[in-house]
């Protein structure tokens, strides 16, 4: 029934560090294929030594569903980073998911409640726009991603190289979530999901219109509308929408908000306002959750009241609790409607009815006939083709990596990105490794003396298009790099300079005196080495530039002249 399937788990090696981005579960499989294949990291044993950190972008199960399995069953004891709201909401979803999979479907190779708790103990929460030092070389920073409460895009930096991973994000603001935002951080690689890259999204108002139309149609014919919700944000948005609509159309049918939701509401409400930015707080969160004119708290006895009504109830997948109770009461009447606002895990009633099932088996062998209208409205916001282009414009990456798309079906997008931004676009398949070579710039300070010396050497001025080699000594101390003259370097190191002098002896047979031999050598050199300075010095040496020549002989063999050449290394 058009439900999203997919799992995210990306391994990045940068500057010698290994990072895992997201750890999602594949919701379409029932066997081990639903977990990421960790053998890419190591064939056996725990992952702690191989990973520097794990980062989770948001609480959707296809991004964090396999986290407890990875940390507790495969084994990982290092830090797990996520935003505060993600940390608060993740364990609840994981526990729900675990209960459904184990209790309702009878699975055995699955993580336990204790494992979820142990996993969450390893979590280090992140704040937006704050740089966190994972160790002395690796730092990370979270950016606002929109999409759902707590979703973040993450920048990972080692030295002067960086990678940005977007997770899921959206570029058009919702009523309660702003649009994703990132600065011109110019990462070497921008990693983004491309599942929706080939869509052009229908406007938010049209989705809302559809929702209102469905609700109105049902109310008009005297039916009841059940809306199972989980996350506060989406529920609140729909409430505001209904409230406005009710006001405009002067509708009288009651709208209720179930008690299970009100308890969670305050908790999430606080979480929400401390995490989002000022602008969101002002525009949306101003109103008190329960100051609706037309929306009241629900009491379970109301479900039996005759006539039309709308009820928001938890949990979101109709797998237990109040929403399931209400559903059981209303399912048999075709005038009624249930609106499912999101993805439902396999095994839940929500999943079954979205697959068109008309008869459900309940506890105690009772069958439930599903006669009410089932509507699936996807409210979740993802970036489409336009959104990806907007994000690239914002961040200005040097390269872009698109994941979770089919390469053949994305050749046009790749062309478009490459043409418009003049950057490389990669589209690796699952299991494929992409290597991107970066050109990190290494900043070096050069001493003034050295610069002056280079200038004094003459020749053309330094030109960025025509690099010129120069000599100096590179000193790397703490985190700075300096280029200085050799003398300066020696001085700083407290070493004395050594001058190297080389000598060589040439043996000649010459019957003349030593002095005469020297003179003859001098004349000869003078005539053949025309461009060079050749001098005959009074101290009986000949100098060719800086090479010194001396002639000597022994008393026993006066005809065997020894010409001593000596020169400095330069």
């Amino acid at each position: 029934a058009g439900q999203d399937v997919g799992r995210s788990c990306i391994l990045v090696s940068i500057g010698g560090k290994n990072i895992m981005l997201d750890c999602g579960m594949h919701m379409g499989y029932n066997d081990d294929r639903r977990f990421p294949d960790f053998s890419y990291i190591t064939q056996n044993g725990r992952l702690t030594d191989y990973l520097d950190c794990v980062i989770i972008s948001h609480f959707h199960l296809d991004h964090c569903g396999a986290l407890p399995y990875m940390s507790e069953m495969v084994g990982y004891d290092g830090p797990i980073y996520m935003t505060h709201p993600t940390k608060a909401i993740c364990p609840i979803l994981l526990e729900d998911f675990r209960k459904i999979t184990v209790d309702k479907k009878g699975e055995t190779n699955f993580f336990t409640s204790q494992m979820i708790k142990d996993c969450m103990k390893k979590v280090v929460p992140l704040n937006l726009h704050q740089t966190v030092q994972v160790d002395d070389e690796l730092e990370i920073k979270a950016y606002y991603a929109g999409h759902v409460l707590g979703a973040a895009m993450v920048q990972i930096k080692v030295g002067s190289e960086s990678v940005v991973y977007t997770g899921d994000y959206n570029m058009t603001p919702d009523r309660h979530l702003g649009a994703a935002w990132i600065d011109k951080c110019r990462p070497d690689i921008l990693i983004t999901e491309s599942t929706y890259a080939t869509t052009i999204r229908d406007s938010k108002r049209c989705r809302e219109r559809d929702f209102l139309k469905k609700v109105h149609e049902t109310i008009e014919r005297g039916g009841k509308v059940l809306i199972p919700v989980f996350a506060l944000g989406r529920a609140q948005e729909l409430c505001i929408l209904l409230e406005t609509f009710w006001e405009r159309m002067n509708l009288k049918a009651p709208i209720y908000f179930s008690t299970g939701l009100t308890e969670k509401a305050n908790h999430y409400y606080k979480l929400f306002i401390t995490w989002t930015n000022q602008k969101i707080r002002k525009t949306f969160v101003q109103r008190n959750m329960f100051e609706f004119k037309h929306i009241k708290a629900f009491d379970r006895s109301y479900a039996d009241n005759p006539g039309p009504m709308v009820v928001f109830a938890t949990p979101g997948m109709l797998h237990a609790g109040q929403s399931l109770q209400i559903f059981k009461k209303w399912a048999g009447n075709e005038k009624n409607m249930v609106i499912m606002p999101g993805y439902c895990v396999q095994g839940t009633v929500g999943h079954k009815i979205l697959n068109g099932q008309k008869k459900l088996e309940m506890e105690g062998r009772a069958t439930l006939e599903v006669k009410l209208q089932v509507e699936y409205m996807s409210f979740s916001a993802h970036a489409d083709a336009k959104g990806i282009m907007q994000l690239i414009r914002m961040a200005e990456p040097h390269n872009i990596l698109l994941v979770h798309g089919e390469a053949k079906k994305m050749a046009f997008l790749k062309d478009k990105i490459e043409q418009e931004f003049n950057i490389s676009c990669y589209m690796p398949a699952n299991g494929e490794t992409t290597t991107v070579t970066t050109n990190p710039s290494v900043p070096v300070d050069i001493s003034l003396n050295l610069l002056k010396r280079e200038m004094a050497l003459g020749g053309p001025l330094p030109d960025p298009k025509r690099p010129r080699t120069m000599h100096g000594t590179l000193i790397m101390k703490d985190n700075s790099l300096r280029l200085v003259s050799p003398e300066q370097a020696l001085k700083e190191l407290g070493l004395s300079e050594h001058q190297l002098r080389f000598t060589c002896r040439v043996h000649l047979q010459d019957p003349h005196s030593d002095t005469d031999t020297l003179s003859r050598i001098y004349s000869h050199l003078k005539s053949v080495l025309k461009g060079y300075a050749v001098q005959h010095l009074p101290d009986s040496t000949v100098m060719v530039e800086s090479i010194v020549l001396k002639v000597s002989s022994s008393a026993e063999e006066p005809d065997l002249k020894v010409v001593l050449l000596s020169w400095c290394f330069q």
Binding site: G2, I200, D202, R205, G356, Y376, K416
Partner: protein
């Protein structure tokens, strides 16, 4: 134009009753062409940017979900194929029976032939260029041939109208007239008969077996008016006896004529529409393929107007539209730079009676299914 959010809200609320379906999309760049390339797909193309993309889009699946509509959340356009054109696209036509489109551009008089591509790749590739064999204006108008051999009829002025075979580039037919009237549109009636409408409203009816054409000058046409036409036929190969021609002028005049008798219109009307901008580029009139005698008009402003011509007579009156789509005016998300919004093109869905697609100068593209108050009950 600043829309107060109240007016926009009002329209959205009203839309619950006046539309069965409504989808509002924002393309990166505006298009002035929407062409059906399949039962569920359309082609659009840039006319205003440097990169001029041609896109083939799959319509939202929700429209086609029928009985299972509730269970289908897919409301979005899916980009199936894309390509780049070296000039802004003036005219785009799908070639009958093939996965191929032909475009003309605003910078040159050439036509470009594109292969839309099948399962494997999503790139729209250019496979050929047609250069008209005579001097021609830029932005030629195009019509697809309706026979199995892929061909196009194209022209910028009446005297340069010709039919070219796509694969070989061979000129199959050229008109034999001197008329320098600019072409505003052309279309095949069947495999050999075709109709051409000139900017001044004169209609030409030709046959590819004969270079001579019959022409029908418009009497009493107001000077300065620009005319476009629409041919209503029931199938790709039609008997001229079953065809109706509608002509629309930039002053809002509409003439409906039988193809067998183009001298005297059987119905006419003076629409109460004024152009809000100086260009006639976007003037468009179309016949509804399913509804009898209904036509849609756009290009005057940011709306699409639908009229039922059944009650029109030979005496010109000012009819009221049966429906006006105001969505582009009232829901545009793109920031305007003060320029007026105009609907650049619209098309009817081939078999859903009241579904249309319309595009506007702000890049918006809407898919809408309107409710006829006289017929349906909401």
């Amino acid at each position: 134009m600043d829309i107060s959010s109240d007016e926009a809200d009002d329209w959205f609320m009203e839309s619950l009753h006046i539309y069965r379906d409504l989808h509002v999309f924002q393309l990166e760049h505006p298009t002035k062409v929407i062409e059906w390339t399949g039962e569920k797909s359309i082609c659009v193309a840039d006319y205003s940017s440097a990169r001029n993309e041609i896109l083939e889009l799959l319509l939202p699946l929700k429209l086609y979900a029928g009985g299972n509509k509730g269970l289908c959340p897919e409301r979005d356009f899916k980009l199936q194929h894309g390509g780049f054109c070296d000039e802004p696209v003036e005219c785009l036509r799908h070639i009958f029976g093939k996965r191929c489109v032909v475009t003309s551009g605003q910078y040159s008089s050439k036509l470009q032939v594109w292969d839309i591509g099948e399962g494997d790749s999503d790139i729209i590739k250019r496979t050929g260029v047609i250069n008209p064999k005579c001097p021609s204006d830029k932005g030629r108008k195009i019509a697809s041939g309706v026979t199995d051999g892929a061909s196009v009829l194209h022209g910028s002025r009446i005297n340069d109208v010709q039919q070219t075979e796509l694969v070989s580039g061979r000129v199959l037919y050229a008109v034999g007239t001197d008329s320098l009237d600019a072409v505003s549109g052309l279309q095949f009636v069947n495999s050999s008969t075709f109709v051409v409408c000139a900017n001044n409203g004169t209609l030409y009816v030709g046959d590819t077996r004969d270079p001579r054409m019959k022409h029908y000058v418009l009497h009493g046409s107001m000077s300065g008016s620009h005319w476009v036409f629409a041919l209503r036929k029931d199938q790709p190969h039609s008997d001229p006896a079953a065809c109706t021609v509608a002509r629309l002028s930039s002053f809002g005049q509409v003439l409906v004529s039988d193809l067998r008798n183009l001298c005297s219109p059987v119905r006419q009307a003076q629409l109460n529409l004024q152009q809000n901008m100086p260009t006639c580029d976007f003037l468009n009139v179309t016949w509804a393929p399913v509804l009898d005698s209904c036509l849609a008009v756009s290009g005057f402003d940011g709306k699409v107007h639908i009229f039922d011509t059944t009650s029109w007579s030979t005496v010109s009156q000012t009819p009221q539209p049966v429906f006006v789509h105001r969505g582009h005016d009232l829901s545009h998300e793109a920031k305007t730079d003060g320029t007026l919004l105009v609907v650049t093109t619209h098309v009817w869905h081939p078999w859903r009676p009241r579904t249309l697609l319309s595009a506007a100068s702000d890049g918006s593209i809407h898919v809408w299914d309107w409710v006829d108050k006289n017929v349906d009950h909401f």
